[in-house]
Every structure is written in structure tokens, then in C-alpha cells.
């Protein structure tokens, strides 16, 4: 027996109500206007190729004399950390007294397909660190790496320990082969060389397709049904649109960097084993002796908590602490709850070191 209790007129009523909400909502969609990519004032301080290094301007002068460089992933765009006024990790960090810089990698095109991890980490990132260090007259600065940018920051710190004072990693994969890592399972049978040789750069749509298929029913359908209920609220709708814009704003991945990241990190889990070769360096995480703060989300479906927590046993640092956030991979930056807890905790941790 099926516990179904609806009369036809009720069903039609609900369908009508839904259609009307949808129609009104889509009308509101037309009026949403431009969606800005980031809200906090910032100025470019260094540019190279498509990469731009920004410095953010807080309302008061930073208390911490050591600047903090945020290293974002190559996947998606960094304005996720600065989505809207009351949902901005960057704003939170500024309020916590940090002097915040951020690397925007830009959108690689076909001419960038031979950018390697060496170019990204020992090239762009290293020069950004030098620029900031020189500007502040310091030998070392603080790094904050996000997701893949976290993995980059770990590699960087292992290769250039003399330039990093403190390292914060957020939702950063270290062990790429935990049993609950769906993304990693999917990529194991992919012929990465064939993919890169054929495609050159990896199209952003392909990554998007992959990410959406981690939870297709929720991410491609149910989510929109939920939004229909609040589409009559222009402000809520605009906030939804900011997020939506971000999700589908996926730069292509430079082919050679994708090749190494997919093969060495995802398929062969070399970061943990100390076998990643970048330029002239072999990346040994034991070289990381500075204080490390590892922040992860306990419901992360992209980087499972265990993938992040593996860091503790891989590094040579004696000052290691963790912060677990009850939420997901994105929620850790954009949820109201995260807003209140994460940036202040990072600020406090940095100030103490």
C-alpha cells in the first residue's frame, strides 16, 4: 500500500502554485542585474601573465605585522572567499586584524597549456611571496592555502621553508586515496595522458560536470526546487545567484598542471609518500617545520575530512593544530556559521605565532 493522500484538485493546485512562483521568480531573475565578483575593496599589487596578486583593504589598519597570502585553487574562482557583504572570509580575516593578499590565477587559455606545477608554485607563487616580503621588509610571510591551493601551499612550504612563517591549510587534500573520496575513485581509471594530450587544457565544463555528478539529484534539480520558494525575495534571489554564478564560473585547467596533479596526486598519492617532483625539487612534507593550522569541513564531499587530517602525520612541524567545521566544502567559506567562527579562529592562531 502506498501512503498517498492527495486529491487531483490538490495536485493541480500545488502545480499551479509552483508554476506561479516559478514564473514570478524568473521575472525577478530578469531584474537581478549584474552580479559582482567579490565585494571587499582591493588593489592589484603585482601582475604576471594572467595572474594578479591583490591586496585587500580593511576598515582599520592590520594588527598582525606579518602579511597573509591566500593561495586559491586553480579550480573555480577565488571570489568565493568574498561572495557578499555578510559572507566573506576575506572580510572576516581583515576584521581579525590580518593584512590579506590573494592570488587570482585568472583564466588559462590554450597558450597556457604548458604551464606546469613548477611554473605555478616555484614561479608565480614564489614571486608573489617575494613581492610581498620585499614590500614588508620581511624574510617570511604567512600562507593560507585553499583546497588545491592548499596542496600547492604545502608543496611550496616544503620547497621554500625559509619563506613561510605560518601555514594555514583549508579543506586541503593530503591523502588522495581515502576510501570515501568519490572524486579520486572516479579518476583512477582515466587515461590522464590521453585526456591531456587530446584536450590540451581541461575544459572547465568537464570539471563542472564531474563535480555536479557527485550529487546529481541534489545539485542539478532539488536545489532549484528549494529556491523557487524564495524567488519572490529579490535579495535572497540575488544571493542565490551569486553562488550560482560562482559554481558555474569554471576556468579551464592548464593541461600540464592538470596532468601532474591528476597523476601524481590523485592516482599515485605521491604527496603523502614524499615522491612529488616539482622542477628541481622533490617535495618532502617533512621539511615543513613551521606552525601549521589545518582547517577542514566534516561534511566535505569533495575533500573528505580524513583526506585533510592525514596531514598531521606527514609534516615535520611540532606545532600542528586542527579546526573542524560542521559543514561542507563550500559552506566553510560562505555559511553564516562559518563567518562567525572560522576567520576569527585563524586570526587568533596567526596572532599567537
Amino acid at each position: 500500500m502506498i501512503p498517498f493522500q492527495m486529491r487531483p484538485d490538490e495536485i493541480l493546485g500545488e502545480a499551479r502554485e509552483f508554476n506561479e512562483k516559478l514564473a514570478k521568480g524568473v521575472g525577478n531573475l530578469m531584474d537581478v542585474g549584474d552580479i559582482p565578483s567579490g565585494v571587499t575593496p582591493k588593489e592589484p599589487v603585482y601582475k604576471e601573465d594572467k595572474m594578479v596578486l591583490y591586496r585587500y583593504k580593511g576598515e582599520q589598519k592590520p594588527k598582525n605585522k606579518t602579511p597573509l597570502l591566500i593561495v586559491y585553487a586553480l579550480v573555480n574562482r577565488p571570489y568565493m572567499t568574498d561572495l557578499q557583504e555578510n559572507r566573506s572570509t576575506i572580510k572576516g580575516l581583515l576584521e581579525a586584524g590580518q593584512d590579506v593578499y590573494l592570488i587570482d590565477w585568472g583564466y588559462p587559455d590554450a597558450a597556457d597549456r604548458y604551464l606546469t606545477m613548477d611554473d605555478y608554485i616555484n614561479g608565480y607563487l614564489d614571486r608573489c611571496v617575494d613581492v610581498i616580503s620585499a614590500h614588508h621588509g620581511l624574510d617570511k610571510i604567512n600562507l593560507l592555502g585553499i583546497c588545491q591551493g592548499g596542496a600547492f601551499s604545502l608543496c611550496y612550504t616544503a620547497m621554500h621553508p625559509e619563506k613561510v612563517r605560518n601555514l594555514v591549510t583549508m579543506v586541503t587534500p593530503v591523502d588522495f586515496k581515502t576510501p570515501d573520496n568519490m572524486l579520486s575513485r572516479w579518476i583512477q581509471n582515466i587515461d590522464v595522458d590521453l585526456l591531456v594530450d587530446t584536450q590540451g587544457n581541461i575544459p572547465g565544463e568537464m570539471l563542472n560536470w564531474t563535480f555536479l555528478n557527485l550529487k546529481p539529484y541534489q545539485l542539478m534539480a532539488q536545489k532549484y526546487l528549494g529556491v523557487v520558494d524564495m524567488m519572490d525575495n529579490p535579495k535572497a534571489l540575488k544571493n542565490f545567484m551569486r553562488m550560482e554564478k560562482w559554481i558555474f564560473d569554471s576556468p579551464d585547467q592548464a593541461g600540464e598542471t592538470f596532468r601532474q596533479f591528476a597523476k601524481d596526486f590523485f592516482q599515485q598519492n605521491k604527496l603523502m609518500k614524499g615522491e612529488v617532483q616539482i622542477g628541481e625539487y622533490t617535495v618532502n612534507l617533512r621539511n615543513i617545520k613551521c606552525p601549521v593550522y589545518n582547517v577542514y569541513a566534516d561534511q566535505d564531499h569533495l575533500v573528505p575530512p580524513d583526506a585533510s587530517r592525514a596531514l598531521e602525520d606527514c609534516i615535520g612541524s611540532k606545532d600542528y593544530s586542527e579546526l573542524s567545521f560542521p559543514g561542507g566544502h563550500i559552506g566553510i567559506y560562505v555559511s553564516g556559521k562559518a563567518q562567525k567562527t572560522i576567520p576569527p579562529a585563524i586570526g587568533e592562531w596567526l596572532d599567537a605565532r
Binding site: 500500500m1 498517498f4 590554450a110 583512477q188 581509471n189 584536450q199 550529487k215 546529481p216 532549484y224
Partner: protein, 506 residues
């Protein structure tokens, strides 16, 4: 409830549709005005499409509108492509490739529900969607897709609710979906599937987004179907008939292995390779779909199990939305089990790899043609870009070294602070070997020292070393560093410039 459920049902339905149509029309009119009237035709009367609609909302063909009128698949990306016409005329496979490539595209009918609820939405959308562009357009599209899926489910429920015994009707509805899925699975197994059943939730979405992606990567996939069919039936390109080839894949593959001959041999081999890879892709897609269809069946079973559970607890489903959410949750769980399985790892990887092999063949064929036309090819550009990136990397490295050396030189030319190892950034070096080089502006002829010619003397002047005393006061470590800066290859110590300077100084 009416005693004649069917007629009551129909009247109610027609009334509802009339109201809805009016609503959408008003909306569209509003949008037309708002959008500047570029697409200002009013929507066609939807009732024309529903004349055959009696009591069974499942009646196929009741809804004649094609919701995919603006479907990206309908556009042939090769129409403006040199390959579409001229280039293939001398190709033995031209015949197969120029036939209507979309005639049997298996994706063309994905998600095409014969569903009046969703159909109304379609009409509205086709009027409205041109008003959107950019970010908003693609987002609105997602709402529309979801709306269609929701309406499709509502229709199923409506069909059930109009019956005397709604729960029995709903049971039937679900059974019919199960049967449709089962049939789909059989069709895939027999290589006969054409249409993905439309289920509540988004059963087709994963597949249709894949199809969109595959289409963007390898437009030829759409052409491949008729091409494969021709070959499989023994019609080889160029009008050659192969008696007895039949549809058996083994023989098909053998046909593709026939060595190419003559002037077009290389090209023919490439086409055979492409055909083999298209076949591989077809197989990989079939395996993926089959696994996917089985998962859809599992999720449907999970929905039923959940409904039974609710029934046992005495709970009721009281809205379409509640049912939809429950459906999504059950489907997502079933999908997650599937997606984490070893089977998925294999079918997914095979699918991506097979697509890439097709694409690679396409690239190579394109290269061949471009070469004939004396147009630069992708691989040539790749080679240039690769070398350029290597040059850039090396250039950066050299600039970095020059900057370090400059810093070092600058330090050395300020006599109080001249220091630093040449192979380290000046800023980080500590405990310099020698802090001071005596300040002295007295200029002497350094070429008197054996080993120092006019050029070297000039270099030394540039470093602030102008007389014998300065040279004589150097210690060995400083001399080594200076040697590196001057690129003197060890001559300072080997030729004992310091000793010579001591003798020569006044």
C-alpha cells in the same frame, strides 16, 4: 469524489490547463514587453496540441510540441566547417559522413516527455528564454529543467489521484515506471535503446549533460550512428557492398581491419581507426547507460520501500513536494552507492577514455586536412608553445639570477657592505667573509697585473676596485666571490692577483 473519475479528471485537467495557459500567456506578454519585443510572437495555442488528450495522461504523442526545439543538439556544429562539405568529397567515407548525422542521434530524444504539464512549461520557456542572456540565462535554464522534471512527476501523481483508489493507481504508476526501466535495460542490452525513460527526479540529467559534453568535445559522435549502421550492415563507403558482414560486431571489426590500399591508404587507415574508436565509444556509452539504468531501477525500488515504510508507520505523503524530496533522497543514496562502486570506476573511465580516443582521431584527421591546405596545425602550435614556455621559464630563471647578482654587486660596490655569496640571495646571507673593502678612489693601471687585460680592468673598475691596494687587501674568500661575479673562472687566485698587487702597491 465523483463516481466517474475519468471524466471528472479530464474536466478538471482541462480547466486547469486553461487557467495555466492564460497565466503563461500573460506572463509571456509581460516578458515580451519587458524584453523589447524582439521575439514578440504570441505563443501558439497549446490546446491544438491536446485535442487527442482524453483521460490517460500517459498517452504518447498527445503532446506534439518538441521541447527540444532550441536544443543544442539540433544544431550541427559542422555546418560552417570546411569538413562538412568540400573536404570530404574525395574521401571514400564521404557518403557516410554527409548523411544526416542527427537522424539517429540517441540523445535527441532524451528527456522528451510526452507530458502536458511540462509541455505548458515548454511553450512558456520557448517564448521567454530568448529574453535571457549571460549568467541569468543559464541559471533560468536550470530552473526550467527542474520545473519540467517536477511537472512530469506531478502528472504521474495526477493520473493516479484521479482514480477511485488513488493508492492503487499510484502503485500502478510506479509499476509502469519499473516496467519502463526494465524495458530500457533490455533495450540497452540488445543495443536497441533510443529513448531514456522520463522519471521523476532527474534520471536523464546525468546522461543528457554527458551527451552535451560529449557533443562539445566530439561533434562527430552524432554522425557516427548512421555511419556505424551502414558499415555494420555491410555497406562500405564508396558503394562497396560486403556480403555477409551482417551486424555482428566481430565481423564488423574485421571489416575495419581490411588494409587500406592506394593513394588514400593513410587516410583510409585513419578513418578505420576512427570507426573502431567510435564503436568503442558506443560500447562504453552502452555499458555506462546500462549501469545507470540499473541504478535508476534500484532508486525506484528504494522509493517504494520507503513508501511502504511510511505506510507501516502510519505516515502520509501530503504534497508533491514531499514526494519529490523523498524521491531525490532515495535516488541520491542509490546513486552514491553506484558511484562509489568498482563498476562505476570502470564504466566511467572507459567512457571518458573512449571519448578522448575519438577526439584524438578527429584531431589527427583535421591535421591531415590542414596540412593539405597549408594551414598551421595544432601540433605545430603545441610545439611552438611548448618551446616558448621553456624559454619563458629559462628567461625567468636567468632574470632571477641576474637580479641576485646585481644585488650582490651593489653590495660589493658599496665598500662597507661588500659581502655575500654569489649563489645566494644577498638579503639572506649572514656572516660575510669580509665586510670591508677599503675605500679608495685612487686609480691605478691594473693591467700591470699579469692576467688582467683592459676588459677585465674595466670590469674591476665597475666593481669599485681601482688600485693595487684594494686588490692586495682582499682575503681569499672575498676573492672567490669576486671571481664569480667577474666570471673570471678562478683566475684571481690561480694567477695570484692579490700577491701581484701586494708587490705593485706603493
Amino acid at each position: 469524489m465523483s463516481t466517474n473519475a475519468n471524466s471528472w479528471n479530464e474536466t478538471l485537467m482541462n480547466d486547469w490547463m486553461a487557467t495555466q495557459q492564460k497565466y503563461w500567456d500573460t506572463w509571456s506578454e509581460f516578458a515580451r514587453k519587458a524584453g523589447g519585443g524582439s521575439n514578440g510572437q504570441s505563443a501558439p495555442n497549446p490546446f491544438a496540441a491536446f485535442t487527442g488528450f482524453q483521460s490517460n495522461p500517459f498517452a504518447s504523442g498527445a503532446f506534439a510540441q518538441n521541447p527540444f526545439a532550441q536544443n543544442p543538439f539540433a544544431q550541427n556544429p559542422f555546418t560552417q566547417n570546411p569538413f562538412a562539405s568540400g573536404m570530404f568529397t574525395q574521401n571514400p567515407f564521404a557518403q557516410a559522413f554527409t548523411q544526416n548525422p542527427f537522424a539517429s542521434n540517441p540523445f535527441a530524444q532524451l528527456n522528451t516527455a510526452s507530458n502536458p504539464f511540462a509541455g505548458l512549461l515548454d511553450q512558456w520557456w520557448s517564448t521567454v528564454s530568448p529574453k535571457f542572456d549571460g549568467d541569468v540565462g543559464s541559471i533560468a535554464q536550470r530552473f526550467y529543467d527542474m520545473g519540467k522534471s517536477f511537472m512530469s512527476m506531478s502528472e504521474g501523481l495526477f493520473g493516479a489521484a484521479g482514480q477511485e483508489q488513488p493508492d492503487a493507481a499510484m502503485e500502478m504508476w510506479m509499476s509502469s515506471m519499473q516496467a519502463a526501466l526494465q524495458q530500457w535495460i533490455t533495450q540497452i542490452q540488445n543495443n536497441m535503446d533510443m529513448i531514456t525513460p522520463d522519471l521523476p527526479g532527474i534520471s536523464g540529467t546525468t546522461l543528457s549533460t554527458w551527451a552535451q559534453f560529449a557533443d562539445s568535445v566530439a561533434p562527430w559522435l552524432n554522425m557516427s550512428q548512421s555511419y556505424l549502421k551502414d558499415i555494420a550492415e555491410g555497406h562500405l563507403p564508396g558503394g562497396i557492398e560486403m556480403p555477409g558482414v551482417g551486424a555482428a560486431q566481430e565481423q564488423f571489426c574485421r571489416a575495419l581491419s581490411v588494409p587500406g590500399l592506394g593513394y588514400t591508404r593513410e587516410q583510409q587507415e585513419r578513418f578505420q581507426e576512427l570507426a573502431r574508436h567510435l564503436l568503442d565509444y558506443h560500447d562504453a556509452l552502452r555499458a555506462y547507460k546500462l549501469a545507470f539504468a540499473k541504478t535508476a531501477l534500484a532508486s525506484l525500488n528504494a522509493v517504494q520501500a520507503h513508501l511502504r515504510e511510511l505506510h507501516e508507520k502510519g505516515e502520509k505523503i501530503e504534497s508533491m513536494r514531499a514526494l519529490y524530496d523523498m524521491w531525490v533522497d532515495a535516488s541520491e543514496t542509490a546513486y552514491a552507492d553506484f558511484a562509489m562502486s568498482d563498476e562505476y570506476q570502470v564504466v566511467y573511465g572507459d567512457l571518458v577514455n573512449a571519448l578522448m580516443s575519438v577526439r584524438q582521431d578527429m584531431n589527427q584527421l583535421a591535421e591531415q586536412q590542414y596540412r593539405l591546405m597549408n594551414i598551421p596545425t595544432r601540433s605545430e602550435i603545441d610545439t611552438m608553445q611548448h618551446r616558448q614556455q621553456e624559454n619563458r621559464r629559462e628567461n625567468r630563471q636567468l632574470r632571477h639570477e641576474v637580479a641576485e647578482l646585481r644585488a650582490l654587486v651593489e653590495k660589493m660596490s658599496k665598500p662597507q657592505t661588500a659581502t655575500a655569496a654569489a649563489n645566494k640571495p644577498a638579503a639572506t646571507s649572514r656572516k660575510p667573509a669580509q665586510d670591508k673593502l677599503p675605500i679608495d678612489d685612487v686609480e691605478e693601471d691594473l693591467t700591470q697585473i699579469k692576467g688582467i687585460g683592459p676588459k677585465m680592468a674595466e670590469k674591476l673598475y665597475e666593481q669599485g676596485i681601482k688600485n693595487f691596494k684594494q686588490l692586495a687587501d682582499m682575503n681569499a674568500k672575498f676573492a672567490e666571490q669576486l671571481d664569480e661575479v667577474l666570471r673570471a673562472q678562478g683566475r684571481i687566485l690561480r694567477e695570484d692577483w692579490i700577491g701581484q698587487a701586494k708587490k705593485l702597491r706603493g
